[in-house]
Amino acid sequence: MLAAFRKLKEQEIEIEDVFTPYPVHEILEKHGRKSRITIVGWFYGFFASLAVLAFLIYTAVIDWPLNYGGKPSNAFPSFMVITIVLTIFSITILSLFTFSWRAKLWPSFGKPIYHPEATDDKFVILVNKDSTDANKAASVMKETGAIEVLEK
C-alpha cells in the first residue's frame, strides 16, 4: 500500500484521501494533512488559566472577601491548585470539541463509507476520478499490488 501511495505521489496523481485501520505515519506526514490541534490546545490552556485565575481573584478578593483566620484574601499559592485542575479540564473539553468539529466527527450516518473493511484490514486510497486521470491511477495501483480497484 505504501508503494502505491509513493508512486501515486510521484506521478502527481491527486489523492483525495487515505483510509487505514491504524495510523500509518508515513502517510500522515506525506499526505500533507496538517493538524494545528496541539497549538490550539496550548492557547486554550493559556486563556483558560487566565480566566480561572481572574474568576478566583474576582470572587474571593474583589466581590466578597472573607476573613479565614486572618489569612490574606488573595491566597495565590492555594489558588494555583484550582487553576491547574480547571485549566486541564478546559483544555480537554475544548480540544475534544475542536477535534470533533475539525475532523468532522459527530454522531451521523450521512458520510459515505468507501470500503467497509477500511476499519478492519484494508488500506484504501481514494482518488477522485473527475479531476484526475482515472485509468492512470488504476494502473499504478494494480502495478503496486492493489487487491481491488473499484470505480464509483
Binding site: G41, V85, S95, A103, D121
Partner: protein, 452 residues
C-alpha cells in the same frame, strides 16, 4: 520508537489484521455465558443493598453510620480514598505509558481505563453522601447565588477535591471514549446486526480512518495524555491534603502527597493485575495479554511496593525523630501496638512485604500466586486507609474525647453496593466494548511483523 527487541514480541501468534479484529470483537457477538448472567445477578443484588443504604442515609441521616464526634470520618472516607486509588490505574497506565511510548500498554489500557471510570464513579458516591444533606450539595459550586453572593473557600482542600474528582471523572471518561471511536467504527463496519450497526455507528461518530482523522486523533491523544498525566499526580495529592492540612497526629506530614500518589498507583496496578488475569483467562486473550505483559506489571508492583515500605518506615522514623509525643503515641502506641495493631500489621505485611515475593521469577510466573498477591495488595491498601483515617482520629490530643469506631450495617452495605456497581460495570464492559484497543494493537503488530 517501536523497538521491542529487548522485550520480545508483544503479540504472539503472528496475527493478521482481520484475525485481530475477529479475536477481539468475538465476545461482543457471542451469547452471554452463564457465569456472566450469574455475575450480573449477584452484582445487582449488591447494588440493591447499596441503594437501600443510600436511601437510609439520606432519609435518616448520618446517624445511621457508626461515626461519632471523635471519629468523624469512617468507612465512607476510607472507601472513597480506596476507590480513587484504584481509579488511578487507568490513567497511570494509559497516560504515563503513552507519554513514555511504552508500546506494551496497548493491550491493557482499554480495560484499565474502563476500570478507572467505574471506580471513580464509585468513589464519588461517598463524599457526596458524607456531606449529610445531599440536597444542598450544589452549595459547593461557586455560582452567583442569592446568599450574598457568598463564594466558596478556595483555600479548602475539600473544595479542591470536588474540582479535582469531577474533572478527573470527566477527563478519564473522555480519554477512554476517544480511544474507542476507531474501534466502534470497526464494529459498525463488521457487524451484521442492524441494531449493533446503529448503536455503534452512533458512537463511532462517522469515523472512517481517513488520514485527516488519524492525524488529529494522534495530536489530540498526546494533548490529553500530556495534560492528564498532571492529573494523575494532582488528584491523589489533593485527596492527601484533605488529611495533611489538618493538625492531627499522623496526618500532618509533608510526606502525604507523594505517599498517597504512590499508594494509589500501587492499588490501581494491583487491580489491573487482578482484572487482566481474569480477563485473559476467560476470553482466551493470552496472545494479546501475554505472560510478558503481566511480568512487567508484576515488576512495577515490586518497585512500587518498595516505595510503600520506605514511606511507612519514613513515617514511623519521623514520628520518633520529631520527638512530638502525640506523633509518637499515634504511631507506636496506637498503630504498631495498641488497639489497631492488627490493622497496622495487615497493611504493612500485605503492602510492603508480600509483594516482595515476586522478586522470584518462579512466583512471578505462577499466575495463581500473582492473582492472590494482587488481591492481598488491595486488601492491604484498604487497611492502609483504615489506619490513616481511624487511628489518628480515635485518639488524638484530648484523652477524654477518645473513642473507638466500628461500622454499622448501613456503612458496610454501602461499601458492598459500590463493589456491586464496580462488578456490574466491568461485566457490561466485557460484553459491550472491545476489551483491547483494536487499532492500537494492529499498529503494534505491524511493526513487529515488519521486523521479520
Amino acid at each position: 520508537m517501536y523497538n521491542t527487541e529487548v522485550r520480545g514480541p508483544l503479540i504472539l501468534g503472528n496475527k493478521s489484521l482481520s484475525q485481530i479484529t475477529a479475536d477481539i470483537t468475538s465476545p461482543l457477538y457471542a451469547r452471554p455465558k452463564f457465569w456472566w448472567i450469574v455475575g450480573l445477578g449477584i452484582s445487582s443484588v449488591m447494588m440493591l443493598l447499596g441503594f437501600w443504604s443510600i436511601y437510609v442515609t439520606v432519609a435518616q441521616g448520618i446517624g445511621t453510620w457508626g461515626v461519632n464526634n471523635t471519629v468523624g470520618w469512617g468507612w465512607a472516607i476510607i472507601n472513597f480514598v480506596w476507590w480513587i486509588g484504584i481509579g488511578h490505574a487507568g490513567t497511570a497506565f494509559s497516560i504515563f505509558l503513552l507519554i513514555l511510548r511504552q508500546e506494551w500498554r496497548s493491550s491493557i489500557n482499554r480495560a484499565a481505563e474502563a476500570m478507572t471510570v467505574v471506580a471513580v464513579g464509585c468513589a464519588a458516591i461517598f463524599p457526596a453522601l458524607h456531606m449529610g444533606r445531599i440536597w444542598d450539595a450544589f452549595f459547593i459550586i461557586p455560582y452567583p447565588n442569592t446568599r450574598g453572593p457568598l463564594w466558596v473557600n478556595y483555600n479548602s482542600p475539600l473544595f479542591w477535591d470536588f474540582i479535582a474528582i469531577s474533572a478527573y471523572l470527566l477527563i478519564s471518561a473522555s480519554f477512554w471514549f476517544l480511544g474507542m471511536i476507531p474501534d466502534f467504527a470497526t464494529i459498525r463496519d463488521n457487524t451484521t446486526s442492524k441494531v449493533k450497526k446503529a448503536v455503534y455507528g452512533f458512537f463511532a461518530m462517522g469515523w472512517r480512518g481517513s488520514s485527516g482523522e488519524w492525524k488529529r486523533y494522534e495530536g489530540l491523544s498526546y494533548i490529553l495524555g500530556g495534560i492528564a498525566a498532571v492529573l494523575v499526580v494532582s488528584v491523589h495529592s489533593i485527596v492527601s491534603t484533605d488529611f495533611a492540612v489538618s493538625v492531627e497526629p499522623g496526618w500532618h506530614t509533608t510526606i502525604f502527597p507523594p505517599y498517597f500518589v504512590v499508594g494509589a498507583i500501587f492499588s490501581g496496578f494491583a487491580m489491573v493485575m487482578t482484572l487482566m488475569i481474569i480477563l485473559r483467562k476467560i476470553y482466551k486473550f493470552e496472545e494479546y495479554v501475554t505472560d510478558a505483559h503481566l511480568d512487567k506489571v508484576a515488576k512495577i508492583l515490586i518497585f512500587v511496593s518498595l516505595i510503600m515500605g520506605t514511606a511507612y518506615l519514613t513515617e514511623i522514623f519521623m514520628a520518633w525523630y520529631s520527638g512530638n509525643e502525640y506523633e509518637i503515641f499515634t504511631f507506636f502506641h496506637n498503630r504498631i501496638t495498641g488497639e489497631f495493631t492488627r490493622q497496622f500489621w495487615i497493611m504493612f505485611v500485605f503492602n510492603a512485604i508480600v509483594p516482595q515475593l515476586m522478586w522470584f521469577k518462579k512466583i512471578r510466573s505462577n499466575l495463581v500466586i500473582v492473582f492472590i498477591i494482587s488481591i492481598l495488595i488491595n486488601i492491604g491498601m484498604w487497611f492502609e486507609r483504615f489506619n490513616i483515617v481511624v487511628t489518628s482520629l480515635s485518639k488524638d490530643y484530648l484523652p477524654s474525647a477518645w473513642a473507638s469506631y466500628s461500622p454499622t450495617f448501613v456503612e458496610i452495605s454501602m461499601y458492598l453496593g459500590t463493589l456491586g456497581i464496580f462488578i456490574f460495570g466491568v461485566l457490561l464492559f466485557f460484553k459491550y466494548i472491545p476489551m483491547i484497543a483494536i487499532s492500537e494493537v494492529k499498529a503494534v503488530n505491524k511493526y513487529q511483523l515488519k521486523k521479520k
